[in-house]
Symmetry: C2
Subunit: 348 residues, 2 copies
């Protein structure tokens, strides 16, 4: 198991995902500024991994503030939380993690701010590990024997700081002997599929076929695909799913070919505060991600360039949502509400 | 107007499309071997342009054979035709051109083989120029005022040795003041959209937006697209369309968004000898087109890689087929048959 985010030797250790698969480098981060940059520049990526990295980023801010008065420290840590919140807009796990750290900060005693925040970050990380373990097992139960599964982008161990969501389910199903082959889309512009998903699957020994994003329809039509499993960056209360750009097109193609379309995500990815996907902020990233390829300019100049990092798949295209608490089907608003309430009771 | 294929100074002049947009280089080809390599390596690409280049390639073979007996020469030229036919399997224009050259060869007198074949190639080229001019005008008539048009790959002047098919129609509509914006997909793996379509559109002053192939669904949903216009590499008798990989996915998305999906192609692209798209040979190209860029590896190793150059869009997703002889709608079998018969009568 490769971990992309770890707290080790009093510092945040991050696998630099932008260098994979050519270089497997771990960076040691000791300031919140470094953590914010790593998230913004996608050296750490994947909604659950971003959340965990941000939680540890708050711990780094607490360490940097040591020596000040309690009030000055709390103000500095709150400023750091605000700063981390501006790094990326779409993945809700980031905000869920920062909210927890903010609450923990408010409840901490002056003498133990750092240790209280570190304990909260470690607990959050442990919960995410447990969640992805349960998601892997729940998701694998949906995979038929001898399955060809298609996935998009990377929702693997390195995206989640633990077992992976979509890829966790796929690898779990493979270990159960149910998977014949995985089709991985390359996932332009940043090629998380070609670089990261293929790397994780091949490391696990899973027979894998790499395709460009444009080949999904042809592959469904000619080879047959038994199910699609993808991750999510935010899920609205009605089950609309924000995920890597291209997910929506795959969902429409899956629908046209009667292929089940599954979304695997921890409950922390679900944002019950928004009613539907239209309200999810879609991050627009640099044009150069599109106009260059592997660092080299590829496009003719003079045009506008769009680079939305995510799209929204309407709930009507989602066969099931796989969470650590169970597998949900439409109607999602009532299913998600019931699950959120049950969890509230368990905690209370 | 940029021409990609010309007969000039007793040689075949080809714009090397693989170097665009960074370098605008014309190669002078004087042997059929060079012509075959240029087609196979996609230095000349686009179904109509391939046909014209192959016709001139046969002329080069005739010149190379000069000095031999008539029988030896005809055998050498037939071998050259067979060789050119193996360069690429999907675009039917290649075979249509070679059939014409073969017939012209059979009818030529020993003394004037080269001049007879050159005359036929020039005539074929002129007919393709006229055809794309009529296609541009016919296609533009379908474009509504203030249109946002999406196109895939490159079906422009350089792909057709003349005015372009899909891009010809779009540019004609732009000159008529009907086009607000063109959305061009980058078109992995060889990026003909980012490199060639953007280059042609920007040269013509058309407001253009470049997107990755994976953004089509998001753009249709969020920005609105008034119609899709693409080219074709082969159209079966029932109206099924083989075109650049990714076309099928765009057609399904267009259908889901009630966006008209138009295919623009010369009648030489229609293959009445096959009943449906399942019978169209789909070219599989090198894995390294997907796994490397500019010679640099971009994907993790160890997986299989698919690289079909084309896919087939079923006729049910095709709103209209735009040809030089008119605009056709479903049912395509009867419409295409009637058009083929009328032309037969005109010629006869």
């Amino acid at each position: 198991m490769k971990y992309s985010v770890e707290w080790k030797d009093n510092a945040l250790q991050l696998l630099d995902q932008s260098r994979l698969p050519h270089e497997e480098r771990y960076d040691v981060l000791s300031t919140v500024s470094e953590a914010a940059d790593a998230i913004r520049e996608m050296r750490v990526r994947g909604a659950p991994a971003i959340g965990v990295a941000a939680a540890y980023g708050v711990v780094l801010a607490a360490r940097e503030s040591e020596g000040g008065t309690s009030e000055v420290r709390k103000a500095a840590i709150m400023a750091a939380i605000d700063r981390l919140a501006t790094t990326r807009p779409t993945a809700v796990n980031l905000f869920a993690a920062l909210n927890r750290m903010s609450t923990a900060l408010a409840r901490s005693e002056p003498a133990d701010i750092t240790s209280r925040l570190l304990a909260e970050a470690l607990l959050f990380h442990d919960e995410e590990k447990e969640a992805t373990s349960a998601i892997s097992s729940n998701g694998a139960s949906l995979v038929p024997e001898g399955a060809t599964i298609l996935t998009h982008c990377n929702a693997g161990a390195i995206a989640t700081a633990a077992h992976g969501t979509a890829l966790g389910a796929i690898i779990h199903a493979y270990r159960l002997g149910k998977v014949k082959r995985v089709i991985a889309t390359e996932t332009r512009p940043l090629l998380q599929g070609a670089r990261l998903t293929v790397w994780e699957l091949v490391n696990e020994g899973v027979p894998t076929t790499l395709i460009t994003d444009s080949m999904v329809g042809h592959v469904m039509h000619m080879m047959g695909v038994d199910c699609v499993i993808v991750g999510a960056d935010r899920i609205a209360a009605n089950g609309d799913v924000a995920n890597k750009i291209g997910t929506y097109g795959i969902a429409v193609l899956a629908h046209a070919h009667n292929v089940p379309f599954y979304v695997a995500a921890p409950f922390s990815t679900i944002d019950m505060s928004i009613s539907d996907g239209q309200q999810i902020a879609i991050e627009q990233r640099r044009e150069t991600e599109v106009t260059t390829f592997g660092g080299q300019p590829v496009a003719s100049g003079g045009s506008d360039v769009l680079n939305p990092s995510f799209d929204v798949t309407p709930n009507s295209y989602v066969t099931s949502i796989i969470t650590e608490r169970g597998i949900l089907s439409a109607p999602y608003l009532s299913a998600l509400s019931a699950m959120a309430k049950n969890q509230g009771r368990k905690r209370g």
